[in-house]
Each structure stands twice: as structure tokens, then as C-alpha cells.
């Protein structure tokens, strides 16, 4: 079967340390997949390889029929993979609207000269971008804060803005790195609904790292469990919950 994302024997070594070892993963079209595991298991490292931040030592990543391992992060984004960050990385001194509009730049057609002299085409494109960005902000319920600086948003809204910014890159695969970190139970519940809605509305696949098991078990259709750099289990949520290896990895032997 043709998969959207196909990861084969992905390995990365930092000096003598093998952080991620022969990881195999598949994500299909319009899938919601979770990647869980104890702290330091290598989840974010997998994300960083998928998005080109790290170059894998060996292994292969195919996305949409193209090989993407080892190419630059901005090229990977233009092949429609977008991400959020575990420790929020917004453009703090830009406005909320500008943050989202940054994601349109690689999709824009205006030349540098057009930008400098504000050609009619540029003005047209700019107006279109603004309108589109507002749509994404509306989805994330941030449209009333469009002109505020990103650094002045409360924590939960900063997380939502990161998702809006990633969506504006019009991804086929959205990678969410601990989207619920630091949120209260009510915010997490809202986020759960939002993630599910995004997947249905935009017809995209989502891969998420999360420690909040309630969220993961609730939304994910399939789960990979990573421990010490290796996939120790994979399956639907019900299987994972009962898997003795997973319980051992989280709670220790004899639990």
C-alpha cells in the first residue's frame, strides 16, 4: 500500500551514543498517529530527523513518494511537512498575524523587486495572504488577537498560534511536539477536539508526541511506543494499553 510517510531503519548516532536505532514507521493518508515513550526515549530526535534538523546516520525517509532524509528543513517544509516545537518557538516580536503570514513566504510568487517597490501584484498577494492568515487565526480562535505581539499571548494561546502557523504552511503531514504541554485539563480537552477537527477539515495526517495519555488514547488511531531509541510496540490504543512491554517501559519491571 502506498503510504504518505515511510520511515525505514532510521538511525542516528551522536558520537558513541545511538539516540535512535532502526526505527520503522508508516503513516497513511489522513491518519492520526501518536508517538509516545518515556523521557529521553528519542521522540523529538525522530521529529528532528523527519523535519531535516538532524541528518540521520543511516536509514531512509520517504514522504509522498520522494526521499527526504538529509535535505534542508525549508525544503522539507515546501514538500508539505510542517511542525510545532516542544519549547514554543514563535517569532516573539512579530504580531500574531505576522507569525502566521511568515508561513506563506515560500508559497508566494512576488519577486524581491516587487516587494521593494510594492508592485500591484505584490499588493494583491499581500491582501490575499492577510485574508488567508485571518482564516487560520479564526480556526485557532486567535482572530481577535491578530495585532498583538506573539510574546504577549498567554501560554495556551501561544501553543495554538504555533499550530496555526504550521497549518498555514499547508502541510500534508503535521507534526505536533507535545501540543498539550503546560495546558490545564479543560484546555487539553479543547485541544483534543481541535486536533481531531483539523485532521478531518484539512484532510491531513497528524503525528503527535504527547505525554498526556488521555489525549493520546483519545485521538490517536495508531500508536508507536519509543523507548531508549527503539520502537518497542505499535498498534491501536487498546493494544498499547495492555502491552506488558509498554507498561514495563513506563513503570519499571514487576509493575
Amino acid at each position: 500500500m502506498e503510504q504518505l510517510l515511510n520511515v525505514k531503519n532510521l538511525t542516528i548516532k551522536f558520537g558513541g551514543l545511538t539516540a535512535v536505532n532502526t526505527v520503522n514507521m508508516q503513516i497513511g493518508d489522513n491518519n492520526l498517529v501518536g508517538l509516545i515513550g518515556p523521557n529521553g526515549a528519542g521522540k523529538t530526535t525522530v521529529f528532528n530527523m523527519l523535519t531535516g534538523v538532524y541528518k540521520p546516520t543511516s536509514g531512509k525517509i520517504d514522504f509522498n513518494g520522494e526521499r527526504i532524509d538529509g535535505i534542508k528543513p525549508y525544503d522539507i517544509t515546501s514538500k508539505r511537512i510542517a511542525r510545532t516545537f516542544q519549547n514554543i518557538r514563535l517569532f516573539k516580536d512579530l504580531t500574531v498575524l505576522q507569525n502566521v503570514m511568515v508561513s506563506f513566504d515560500f508559497q508566494a510568487k512576488t519577486t524581491l523587486l516587487g516587494s521593494i517597490f510594492h508592485s500591484p501584484h505584490q499588493m494583491k498577494e499581500e491582501a490575499k495572504m492577510k485574508e488567508e492568515a485571518m482564516e487560520y487565526l479564526k480556526i485557532m480562535k486567535l482572530d481577535d488577537k491578530a495585532d498583538e505581539l506573539a510574546k504577549n499571548l498567554p501560554y495556551g494561546e501561544q501553543r495554538r498560534l504555533e499550530i496555526a502557523r504550521a497549518l498555514a504552511a499547508k502541510p500534508k503531514l503535521l507534526l505536533l511536539d507535545e501540543p498539550a504541554a503546560g495546558m490545564n485539563p479543560q484546555e487539553t480537552a479543547e485541544l483534543t477536539e481541535m486536533i481531531r477537527w483539523i485532521k478531518e477539515e484539512f484532510k491531513i495526517s497528524v503525528l503527535l508526541i504527547e505525554h498526556d495519555m488521555k489525549l493520546v488514547m483519545n485521538v490517536c488511531e495508531y500508536i508507536y511506543v519509543l523507548s531508549f531509541g527503539e520502537i518497542i510496540a505499535s498498534g491501536v490504543p487498546e493494544e498499547i494499553q495492555k502491552n506488558p512491554k509498554v507498561i514495563e517501559a513506563y513503570l519499571g519491571k514487576g509493575a
Partner: protein, 346 residues
């Protein structure tokens, strides 16, 4: 979603409005220039003041370029004056040795600075923060020493008797043009990309932006402006030597930009104007001020940085709307006070 995006209604009147705005701005610029000419004719602006104004204008252009690199892109470069010297020498050679028209010589100066910036920027813009600063500082000194050893351009003696060609008009409209270029660039998609690199280059990369590309764009454009300033300076001062453009000059530009507010074009105007006029205006005061001119200048700088650490304007801009709002607030305050006193009177 796709369909929604294809057919967003775009009001053509926006374009017309923008061009009307441009026309008004150009009109206002000519008016300001006319007033300046009138002042000169009436003798209110003497030749000394005029010289200071021209100097401020030329330095402003170079400072605009630095603001793009330092303020908007967040790349600390300490060799900005070197690009000014390239522009100055490039254009001076053209007019003096090849008898080229002034416009062509300015263009050569701009191109020379831009090409050099592209050549040097490609390897060094991979460096970050202090490493980039040291590297550009070294580059500036290299340029100085190289020019000192080229006899064709006079070596350490410098180039003399360059024809005077830079008029107030040229400077005035070059300042306006550079101001507009930066302002327009920043308010476009490319400008946002440039600022996103300053804010967080890892996140920018994840959003599809090639940081090296945008750093290069701003570095080359900023250096080209320094080249233009150099060309103007050479044909204004009639004498240039390599030491004029040493690291001290680069730091001057950094001071202008930081004082005015990094990431504010009008801030650069204010910062440069203040810092060029301040030492000159202290000259006219009493004996004590005259002797300790630079000391007072330094104290003022320190005080400004303590009370306005983000520069005079921060990242804000002076806009017509802003001034109007400010006037309204002041007016409201005055009328409000009037009410109060009236009530107290009762």
C-alpha cells in the same frame, strides 16, 4: 479550503489608493525641499549648517543599510564603513580617472559594494553573533589596509580633489528613496521572512524560509546602501582616505542605529540626526561645553541607553497617523484640564 483561497475578492482601489499616497508623499518631499531652498536663499541656513545637514543625510543612508542588517535581520556586523569606503573609492575613481558622469559613478560605487558584500557574505553569514561581529570587524580592517597599499588611489594619502557633485537635492532624495525601499521591503512577505530569521532562525527554517538566502539579501542590500553613501560622501567632501572609514566609523553607524531604535527606520533618522547635530551644536555653547564637547556627548549617550535601552523609538515608527493621534491626545488632555479648572472655579 482550496476554493476559498483561489477567489478572494481583491479591491482594486487599494492599488489606486497606494499610488495616490505615493504621489502625496513625493509632493510633500518636494515641498520640504522647496522650503529648505528658501531657507538657504534667505540666509537662515548658513553654509556651515548646510554642511552638517548634508553630512547627516549621507550618514543616514549608510545607517539605513546597517539598520536592515542589524535591526531587522539581527546580524551584528562591525565592518559597515568598509562598504562605504568601497563605494567612495569606486565612484571617485570613475569620476576622477575615467571622467564618467556622476550618476554612473554612483552606480558603480553601489555595485562594487554589493558585489563585495555578496562575495564575503556567502561564507561569513553562516557565523552567528559575536563570531560574525569579529569576522566583519577583521574584514573592515583588511579593506582599509588594502586600500592603503594601492598607489593608484593614493594609498594612505587618500584621494584628493574629487569633483564636488553631491548637491542637497541628491542627498535628500537618496535618503527618501532608501527610506522607502527599507520601509516597503519590511512591509512585505520578504520583510517578514527577514524578521523571522532575526526572531528564531530554527523556527523560520521549519516554516520554509531559507535563512542564508534572506541574510544574504539584507546584507547585500544594506551594503549597497553603504556604497551609495560612500559615493555621495566622496563627491561631497572632495577628499577621502582609508582611515576615514575605519572601525570607528563602523561603530558610529552602530551607535546611530542602536540609539534610534533597532528595527525602526524613522528611529534611524532620529538617531543619526541627533548624533550628528549634537556634537556640532555643543560647539556653539560656552567655553566649558566647547572644551568638553565629546565628554558631554558620551554622557548623553550613556544616559539615553539607561533611560531608553531599546533606543529612542524602539521598534516603533513615526507615522502621520501616530502624530495625529498624539496631537489628539494632547488636545484632549488640555480640554480635559480646562474642564477641571472650570469645575474648580464653580
Amino acid at each position: 479550503m482550496e476554493e476559498q483561497m483561489k477567489d478572494t475578492a481583491f479591491d482594486k482601489s487599494v492599488i489606486v489608493k497606494t499610488y495616490i499616497k505615493y504621489a502625496i508623499i513625493i509632493g510633500v518631499l518636494f515641498a520640504i525641499y522647496g522650503i529648505a531652498l528658501l531657507l538657504i536663499q534667505r540666509g537662515i541656513l548658513d553654509s556651515y549648517t548646510l554642511r552638517v545637514v548634508k553630512t547627516a543625510g549621507i550618514f543616514m543612508i549608510a545607517a539605513f543599510g546597517l539598520n536592515l542588517i542589524l535591526g531587522y535581520t539581527g546580524q551584528l556586523t562591525m565592518g559597515h564603513a568598509a562598504f562605504m569606503s568601497i563605494g567612495a573609492y569606486g565612484s571617485a575613481i570613475m569620476t576622477q580617472k575615467f571622467n564618467m558622469p556622476y550618476g554612473v559613478s554612483l552606480l558603480v560605487g553601489i555595485l562594487a559594494a554589493a558585489i563585495l558584500a555578496a562575495l564575503i557574505g556567502y561564507p561569513i553569514l553562516r557565523l552567528k553573533g559575536d563570531y560574525l561581529a569579529i569576522c566583519t570587524l577583521g574584514f573592515g580592517e583588511i579593506v582599509k589596509v588594502v586600500i592603503q597599499n594601492i598607489d593608484y588611489v593614493g594609498g594612505a594619502r587618500g584621494m584628493t580633489s574629487i569633483p564636488v557633485k553631491t548637491s542637497l537635492m541628491t542627498i535628500f532624495f537618496c535618503v527618501a528613496l532608501c527610506f522607502a525601499i527599507i520601509k516597503n521591503l519590511i512591509h512585505s512577505s520578504k520583510g517578514r521572512a527577514i524578521m523571522s530569521v532575526r526572531e528564531d532562525d530554527i523556527a523560520a527554517e521549519a516554516m520554509g524560509i531559507n535563512p542564508t538566502k534572506y541574510k544574504m539579501i539584507s546584507f547585500v542590500l544594506g551594503s549597497a546602501m553603504a556604497g551609495l553613501a560612500g559615493g555621495l560622501y566622496a563627491h561631497f567632501n572632495t577628499f577621502i582616505d582609508p582611515v576615514t572609514f575605519n572601525y570607528a566609523k563602523s561603530f558610529d553607524f552602530i551607535t546611530y542605529v542602536v540609539l534610534g531604535g533597532m528595527g525602526s527606520v524613522s528611529g534611524t533618522v532620529v538617531g543619526t540626526a541627533i548624533l550628528v547635530f549634537l556634537p556640532e551644536s555643543l560647539r556653539g555653547l560656552s567655553e566649558v561645553f566647547k572644551e568638553n564637547r565629546m565628554l558631554i556627548y558620551a554622557i548623553m549617550l550613556v544616559a539615553l541607553m539607561i533611560f531608553r535601552p531599546n533606543g529612542i523609538l524602539g521598534t516603533k515608527e513615526i507615522t502621520v497617523k501616530g502624530i495625529a493621534n498624539w496631537c489628539k491626545r494632547i488636545y484632549a488632555k488640555i480640554t480635559h484640564k480646562g474642564d477641571k479648572t472650570a469645575k474648580a472655579g464653580e
